[in-house]
């Protein structure tokens, strides 16, 4: 097996071009689902790989409670630099577990607190808050799904644009976009190489909701205007991380969303034909990802088999 054992750890790098292509060429719905699936599979494979490396590399060391048989010399032969890698895998696994637990905990806490903040209001779907800061978001909560919007934002939108805003947030809730977002966040915690997928899914989920909203209100331009206006009035400072690269910054997500809405509607078909340039790129990317994921899984399964064979149970 040799260095192929480490493949699941670095294969997520292949997700970068895939994310880029899917974001630009696929229907946002397809892109969101595809990229979330890819991120989840690659994250699981990468974590399983880390776990196996840890077991193989360190089981034979005195003081490790795992059965020594799990790291027989034959098993260790499959892993280059087994001891170094095994020792390195322990803190890596701890970091992954802690980061994922923290993400889950923060997600739950924020949702709980937001629901608690709205507890005193009438139980309507839309909660309008009297606040001078313009913002709006979808707050998922099973049957208690809510749309939170401030008067400051509503005052600045025209009736048609308000309808676009509500349609957009309802689309988020109806398609349970928060699950996609949480999945890619956890994946990005499990393997930092998957971070571009998180950014890509955050964008494609917004685009998905934009397209749904455009269909609901029957005008792509109205949705574009609502987004543009909301962005201009709520003009928050960009995330600190991007400030340093301002000179090289690609256009942010909001102008890209508006530009996409002012352009032609994306094709409703799930997949473009293979015989177009776009189709070729999309299919190529999808096939590449599938192969990557398969070989990730393959490495993990092979190692499990080796361990199973070597375990005197």
């Amino acid at each position: 097996m040799g260095v192929f054992v480490f493949l699941p750890l670095v294969l997520p790098l292949t997700a970068w071009p895939v994310a880029r292509l899917a974001e630009q060429h696929l229907h946002p719905r397809t892109a969101t689902r595809l990229l979330t699936g890819v991120a989840a599979v690659m994250a699981v494979c990468s974590t399983v790989c880390l776990g196996l490396l840890m077991v193989v590399g360190t089981a034979q060391l005195p003081g490790n409670p795992l059965p020594d048989g799990w790291s027989d010399p034959e098993v260790r032969e499959a892993v280059p630099y087994d001891e170094v890698v095994g020792r390195a895998a322990i803190p890596a696994l701890c970091v992954v577990a802690l980061a994922c637990a923290r993400t889950l905990w923060r997600h739950g806490r924020t949702r709980r607190r937001a629901h608690r903040a709205l507890a005193g209001l009438p139980r309507t779907e839309v909660a309008v808050l009297p606040d001078a800061t313009p913002y709006a978001y979808a707050l998922p909560g099973g049957r208690r799904d809510r749309i939170v919007v401030t008067t400051a934002l509503l005052d600045r939108l025209e009736p048609a644009e308000r309808r676009a805003l509500f349609a957009h947030e309802r689309a988020h809730l109806a398609a349970r976009h928060h699950r996609h977002l949480l999945a890619v966040q956890l994946a990005a915690r499990a393997n930092p190489f998957l971070r571009p997928l998180r950014t890509a899914v955050a964008y494609t989920a917004e685009r998905w909701a934009d397209e749904d909203a455009a269909q609901k209100v029957g005008s792509r331009r109205t949705v574009a205007r609502a987004i543009g206006r909301a962005a201009l009035v709520s003009r928050a400072a960009p995330p600190a991380a991007f400030v340093g690269f301002a000179g090289f910054a690609a256009p942010g997500p909001v102008p890209r969303r508006v530009a996409a809405l002012l352009g032609p509607a994306p094709l409703g078909r799930r997949w473009p034909s293979v015989f177009t340039t776009v189709g070729l790129a999309a299919w190529g990317a999808a096939a590449g990802t599938a192969v990557s994921a398969m070989s990730s899984a393959n490495s993990a399964v092979t190692m499990i088999f080796i361990l199973h064979a070597a375990t005197p149970l």
């Binding site: 808050l129 709006a136 978001y137 947030e169 976009h177 989920a205 003009r235 995330p239 942010g252 102008p255």
Partner: protein
């Protein structure tokens, strides 16, 4: 009774309301009126210890807004949990956005309008017609370039 509750600036007990009104309303009368207002949806109440704390509904919305702000401020990476309608604009995004919206003929004036209003909101200067007209004109100039 409602204005007394609104003046309270937070949840108030029936005893406080009675004192505040200063008239010779009996405590039970105050409770009865509050309960009727509750049925109409004009006030809400929450249990505090053995009695209720009452709150005017307009206040309730303000209270919810303040609580929500606290939740959002505590959440440094807002986008991480709640998918908000729009995210922050980068340094070049604003210009790009105006150009995009300027492409559609009718949106030009409106985007300028939005600019003026947002300027007002930022400066908290209220309605200064000159300022917003100025902003509108400038954005028109920008759009025609």
């Amino acid at each position: 009774m409602l204005s007394a509750l609104r003046d309270a600036g937070g949840p108030a007990t029936a005893g406080w309301v009675q004192e505040r009104l200063g008239s010779d309303l009996a405590y039970t009368t105050v409770i009865t009126i509050l309960t009727r207002l509750l049925a109409k949806g004009a006030v809400t109440r929450e249990r505090v210890g053995r009695s209720f704390a009452w709150l005017a509904v307009a206040d309730q919305a303000g209270l919810a807004a303040r609580k929500m702000r606290r939740v959002l401020d505590a959440e440094g990476d807002r986008g991480a949990v709640l998918a908000s309608f729009v995210t922050g604009l980068g340094p070049d995004d604003e210009r790009l956005l105006r150009e995009l919206l300027g492409q559609s003929r009718d949106a030009l004036g409106e985007s300028g309008d939005a600019l003026g209003r947002s300027r007002d909101a930022l400066g908290q200067s209220g309605d200064v017609p000159g300022q917003s007209r100025d902003a509108l004109g400038r954005s028109r100039d920008g759009g025609e370039d």
